[in-house]
């Protein structure tokens, strides 16, 4: 009790932040954050969430959250005083932006902290799938090399036609790296980008027909939900490989499993899944897939950058200064 009392005394003058999550930076920076803000953490309370929120409803002006929080919209409905939502994610699919704008709630996010990290993991998965690195690692670790000898031939990276879906910050970083590997790049996007000369497709199927590899770099929204369906996978074809370090639900996962099982596409590198952390058993069993636990953004260095950005946004809000990385609603609501 004494300990709790001391903590409360210490943080009494700190601005209050309701945390819905916890976001990933809590793994390292929870203590640092709690020295700067009075953090309200419903998951540590014995009180049911709805009741917890109603107790703090009038005082809560700032919410800190992350992309794993599916109940954010319903929580916000119980919090009439909220004026700021800070999300530690690049993606905004968990936030009802229309409602936030209607209520005058500002949203801050992490648009560029992770771009290079996500691009690096996407490219890493691409190299891994084509060059069979994870599978080779297992081959050695299970002692098979001296027994079986020859390891199956891999696929050359150079000269492959890579179709990038979504040429935003992350897509452009992916393209930069792929150029160094000698890939032939084309892309699909809402609009043609005047700054690049890569072949542009409006139709994903057409991009898939003209690609050996598809790398998904777009946001998840109504237009991109299950964008990669049977038709696209069919167009990608038997030699095709798909890489996803964006959002799981951009791919129709059931269709993907079937196409992989039946050899109708050649392989996949997946950092994201439709129902994380659950991955279908029949997907995990496949040898032509490299898996990663939605960890594209999880590097030590970027966690520090993200912590700085989150703190900067919250401090700006509480001192009535402009946010460091506000969502420009118009960019996301066309």
């Amino acid at each position: 009790m004494a300990q709790i009392h001391t903590n409360q005394t210490l943080s009494v003058n700190l601005p209050e932040v309701l945390v819905l999550g916890p976001p990933s930076i809590f793994r390292i920076y929870e203590k640092h954050l709690s020295q700067k803000f009075m953090l309200l953490k419903p998951w540590e309370s014995p009180i049911p969430l709805e009741e917890f929120l109603s107790i703090h409803a009038q005082n809560t002006t700032a919410v800190l959250t992350s992309s794993v929080v599916a109940y954010l919209s319903s929580a916000l409905r119980l919090l009439p005083s909220v004026r700021l939502v800070v999300t530690s994610s690049v993606g905004l699919d968990h936030i009802d932006l229309k409602e936030c704008r209607r209520r005058g709630i500002s949203v801050a996010y992490a648009p560029s902290v992770f771009s290079a990290d996500v691009a690096n993991l996407a490219v890493g998965l691409w190299v891994d799938v084509l060059r069979k690195i994870s599978a080779a690692n297992c081959f050695l670790k299970t002692g098979l090399w001296p027994v079986k000898g020859d390891y199956p031939l891999a696929t050359k990276l150079g000269g492959k036609r890579v179709g990038i879906i979504g040429l935003g910050r992350i897509g452009r970083e992916v393209a930069k790296r792929l150029e160094a590997f000698g890939s032939k790049i084309s892309y699909q996007s809402r609009e043609k980008k005047p700054s690049v000369s890569y072949p542009f497709y409006t139709d994903v199927c057409e991009l898939a027909s003209n690609s050996d590899v598809l790398i998904i770099c777009c946001a998840l929204n109504d237009q991109t939900y299950h964008l990669i369906n049977r038709e696209v996978l069919q167009a990608l074809g038997r030699q095709g490989v798909i890489i996803n370090a964006a959002r799981g639900a951009i791919i129709d996962e059931k269709a993907l499993v079937q196409f992989l099982q039946e050899g109708k596409i050649a392989g996949a590198g997946l950092d994201v899944f439709e129902h994380e952390p659950n991955v279908p058993e029949e997907l995990l069993e496949l040898d032509n897939v490299v898996f990663s636990p939605h960890s594209a953004v999880f590097t030590e260095e970027s966690c520090k950058d993200l912590y700085d950005l989150v703190v900067g946004n919250l401090k700006a809000f509480f001192s009535n200064k402009p946010l460091l990385s506000p969502v420009q609603f118009d960019d996301f609501m066309r």
Copy 2:
């Protein structure tokens, strides 16, 4: 017998090539090669190797081999008529070049077919070790994600100081890719390369002291045997990572195992080992190492290119034309 007779009849007019190996391209192209040349394959004969060689000693003018053949020098001593050795490798450490020159034996090799492939695997191993891709793949495949939740943070790739040992064909390809990832590149080489502006070190220890990652891209020879010793690993330090897709014996493997076990360096990505295909059990047990079975060059596309090069060199020899990819002895014997 009839079948054998037919084959012999068919190949009677084909030029004879003694195969010491077999080289890796036999996995796919043995049949194609045997339609162009009369292949002598001692490993298929019940006769002991020495006797086999003595039977063919007078007629054998051309030898086809690969880097896995450790007995090449002693075999060549039994073959006085040899005028050409074609090796399907980039490396020449298995060939006594001095002796070949003395005897007037030309050597053809595969200097550039694989440069991009080797660079790609080296870079792939680098991404894998820092971003923990192979380990993450195991994490998911063994069902740990829903159970354990958070996966350990990885290390950011951008901004890392990467020291390239040997800035030849492969080293330059590695550098090109690393630039796209935002690495700070420096290198060690026999001589400063006037064409590049990267910081240059003559001393490997000094390069290691100024690097977060070392990538070995040099040939194995008397000067580079155990080039990476305790002193270099010490200089690389606790956060350091080493990548080797060149030759196993460039690293003192015992020292490497000890440094990895004791956390005196952070990790390694290894395609090559001192006593392949045998890898020390205590090395295979380490979680901070990504393993690959000397497969940097094994892509389907490059095997085809290599096959074309081997056939081209042999055809050139038998028709008294210049070899496509002769070893210039002076380049390797300074």
